[in-house]
Amino acid sequence: MSLGAILLMALLAVIGTLLLLAAVEKFARETLGLEDFPSITSDMWKFLKRIPDALTNAVKNIINALADFIKAPFEAFYNTLMSYGLEPAFAQGIATLIIVLTVIGIILAIAKWRGWL
């Protein structure tokens, strides 16, 4: 079974469970007249909502860590040049130049590999 199919099934299962709980709640309150029946649907929705919230937070943290990881060597290079007395503006310029050249190099390599050039 593919990942897409599993995700779709999980989504349908969540929707099905919520609909079932809502139907039970409505039946208990309106048909049976049980006014003190607990609000199971909204409570369950609050719980289930914590999963996508956790996923969003996890993706955000990973993206930030990845950005720090990519940025780290350039920052380290800049700091090293600075700590050995190079002018901040010059150190920053060289570090920026390296970043620009690296990005251009990666783009060119991808373009060559894909046959766009």
Binding site: T17, L34, A58, I62, A65, F69, L101
Partner: protein, 153 residues
């Protein structure tokens, strides 16, 4: 029997138990209201005793049974703590603890971010830095010459 059928059966049984508990609540509360109206001494004593000694299945403010709500609160606690879960950092032990699905998601994210943090290049030796700077300058000069020649020709 598949997992889906088992889960569906568990949800239906749980709903049936909740409806039953709510029905018991309604019946007991109706009896209590009826007896309260009679102003019986033993009934007043019983309610007072329940107010002081009963567990969370008794609503002491309104003098009512709340077995269904208590049952749902207990199930909610289990779902919230152990199935949906959470992650928490313990300052005393310096460790992070993970529980349930949210804990698993947080654990995977923490492993990835921890790996990236551990293996990122935070320090560059001055010799390497000088070499890189020199190469960059040479490349910049070559690039400039190439660009000037391109413009001229």
């Amino acid at each position: 029997m598949s997992i889906g059928t088992l889960v569906l059966a568990a949800i239906l049984i749980f709903c049936a138990i909740l409806i039953l508990a709510a029905a018991v609540d309604a019946a007991l509360n109706a009896i209590i209201e009826f007896l309260e109206d009679k102003h019986l001494d033993w009934m007043i004593d019983l309610i007072e005793w329940l107010d002081n000694n009963a567990g969370p299945w008794w609503d002491a403010d309104n003098n009512r049974f709340r077995i269904a709500s208590w049952l749902w609160d207990s199930i909610k606690y289990v779902i919230s703590q152990y199935i949906i879960g959470y992650s928490v950092y313990d300052e005393w032990t310096g460790k992070k603890y993970y529980y349930g699905i949210v804990g698993l998601i947080d654990y995977i994210a923490d492993q990835i971010t921890g790996f990236l943090l551990k293996y990122r290049i935070a320090v560059i030796d001055i010799t390497v830095a000088r070499a890189i700077a020199a190469i960059m300058l040479i490349l910049a000069v070559i690039g400039a010459i190439w660009a000037i020649r391109k413009v001229i020709t």
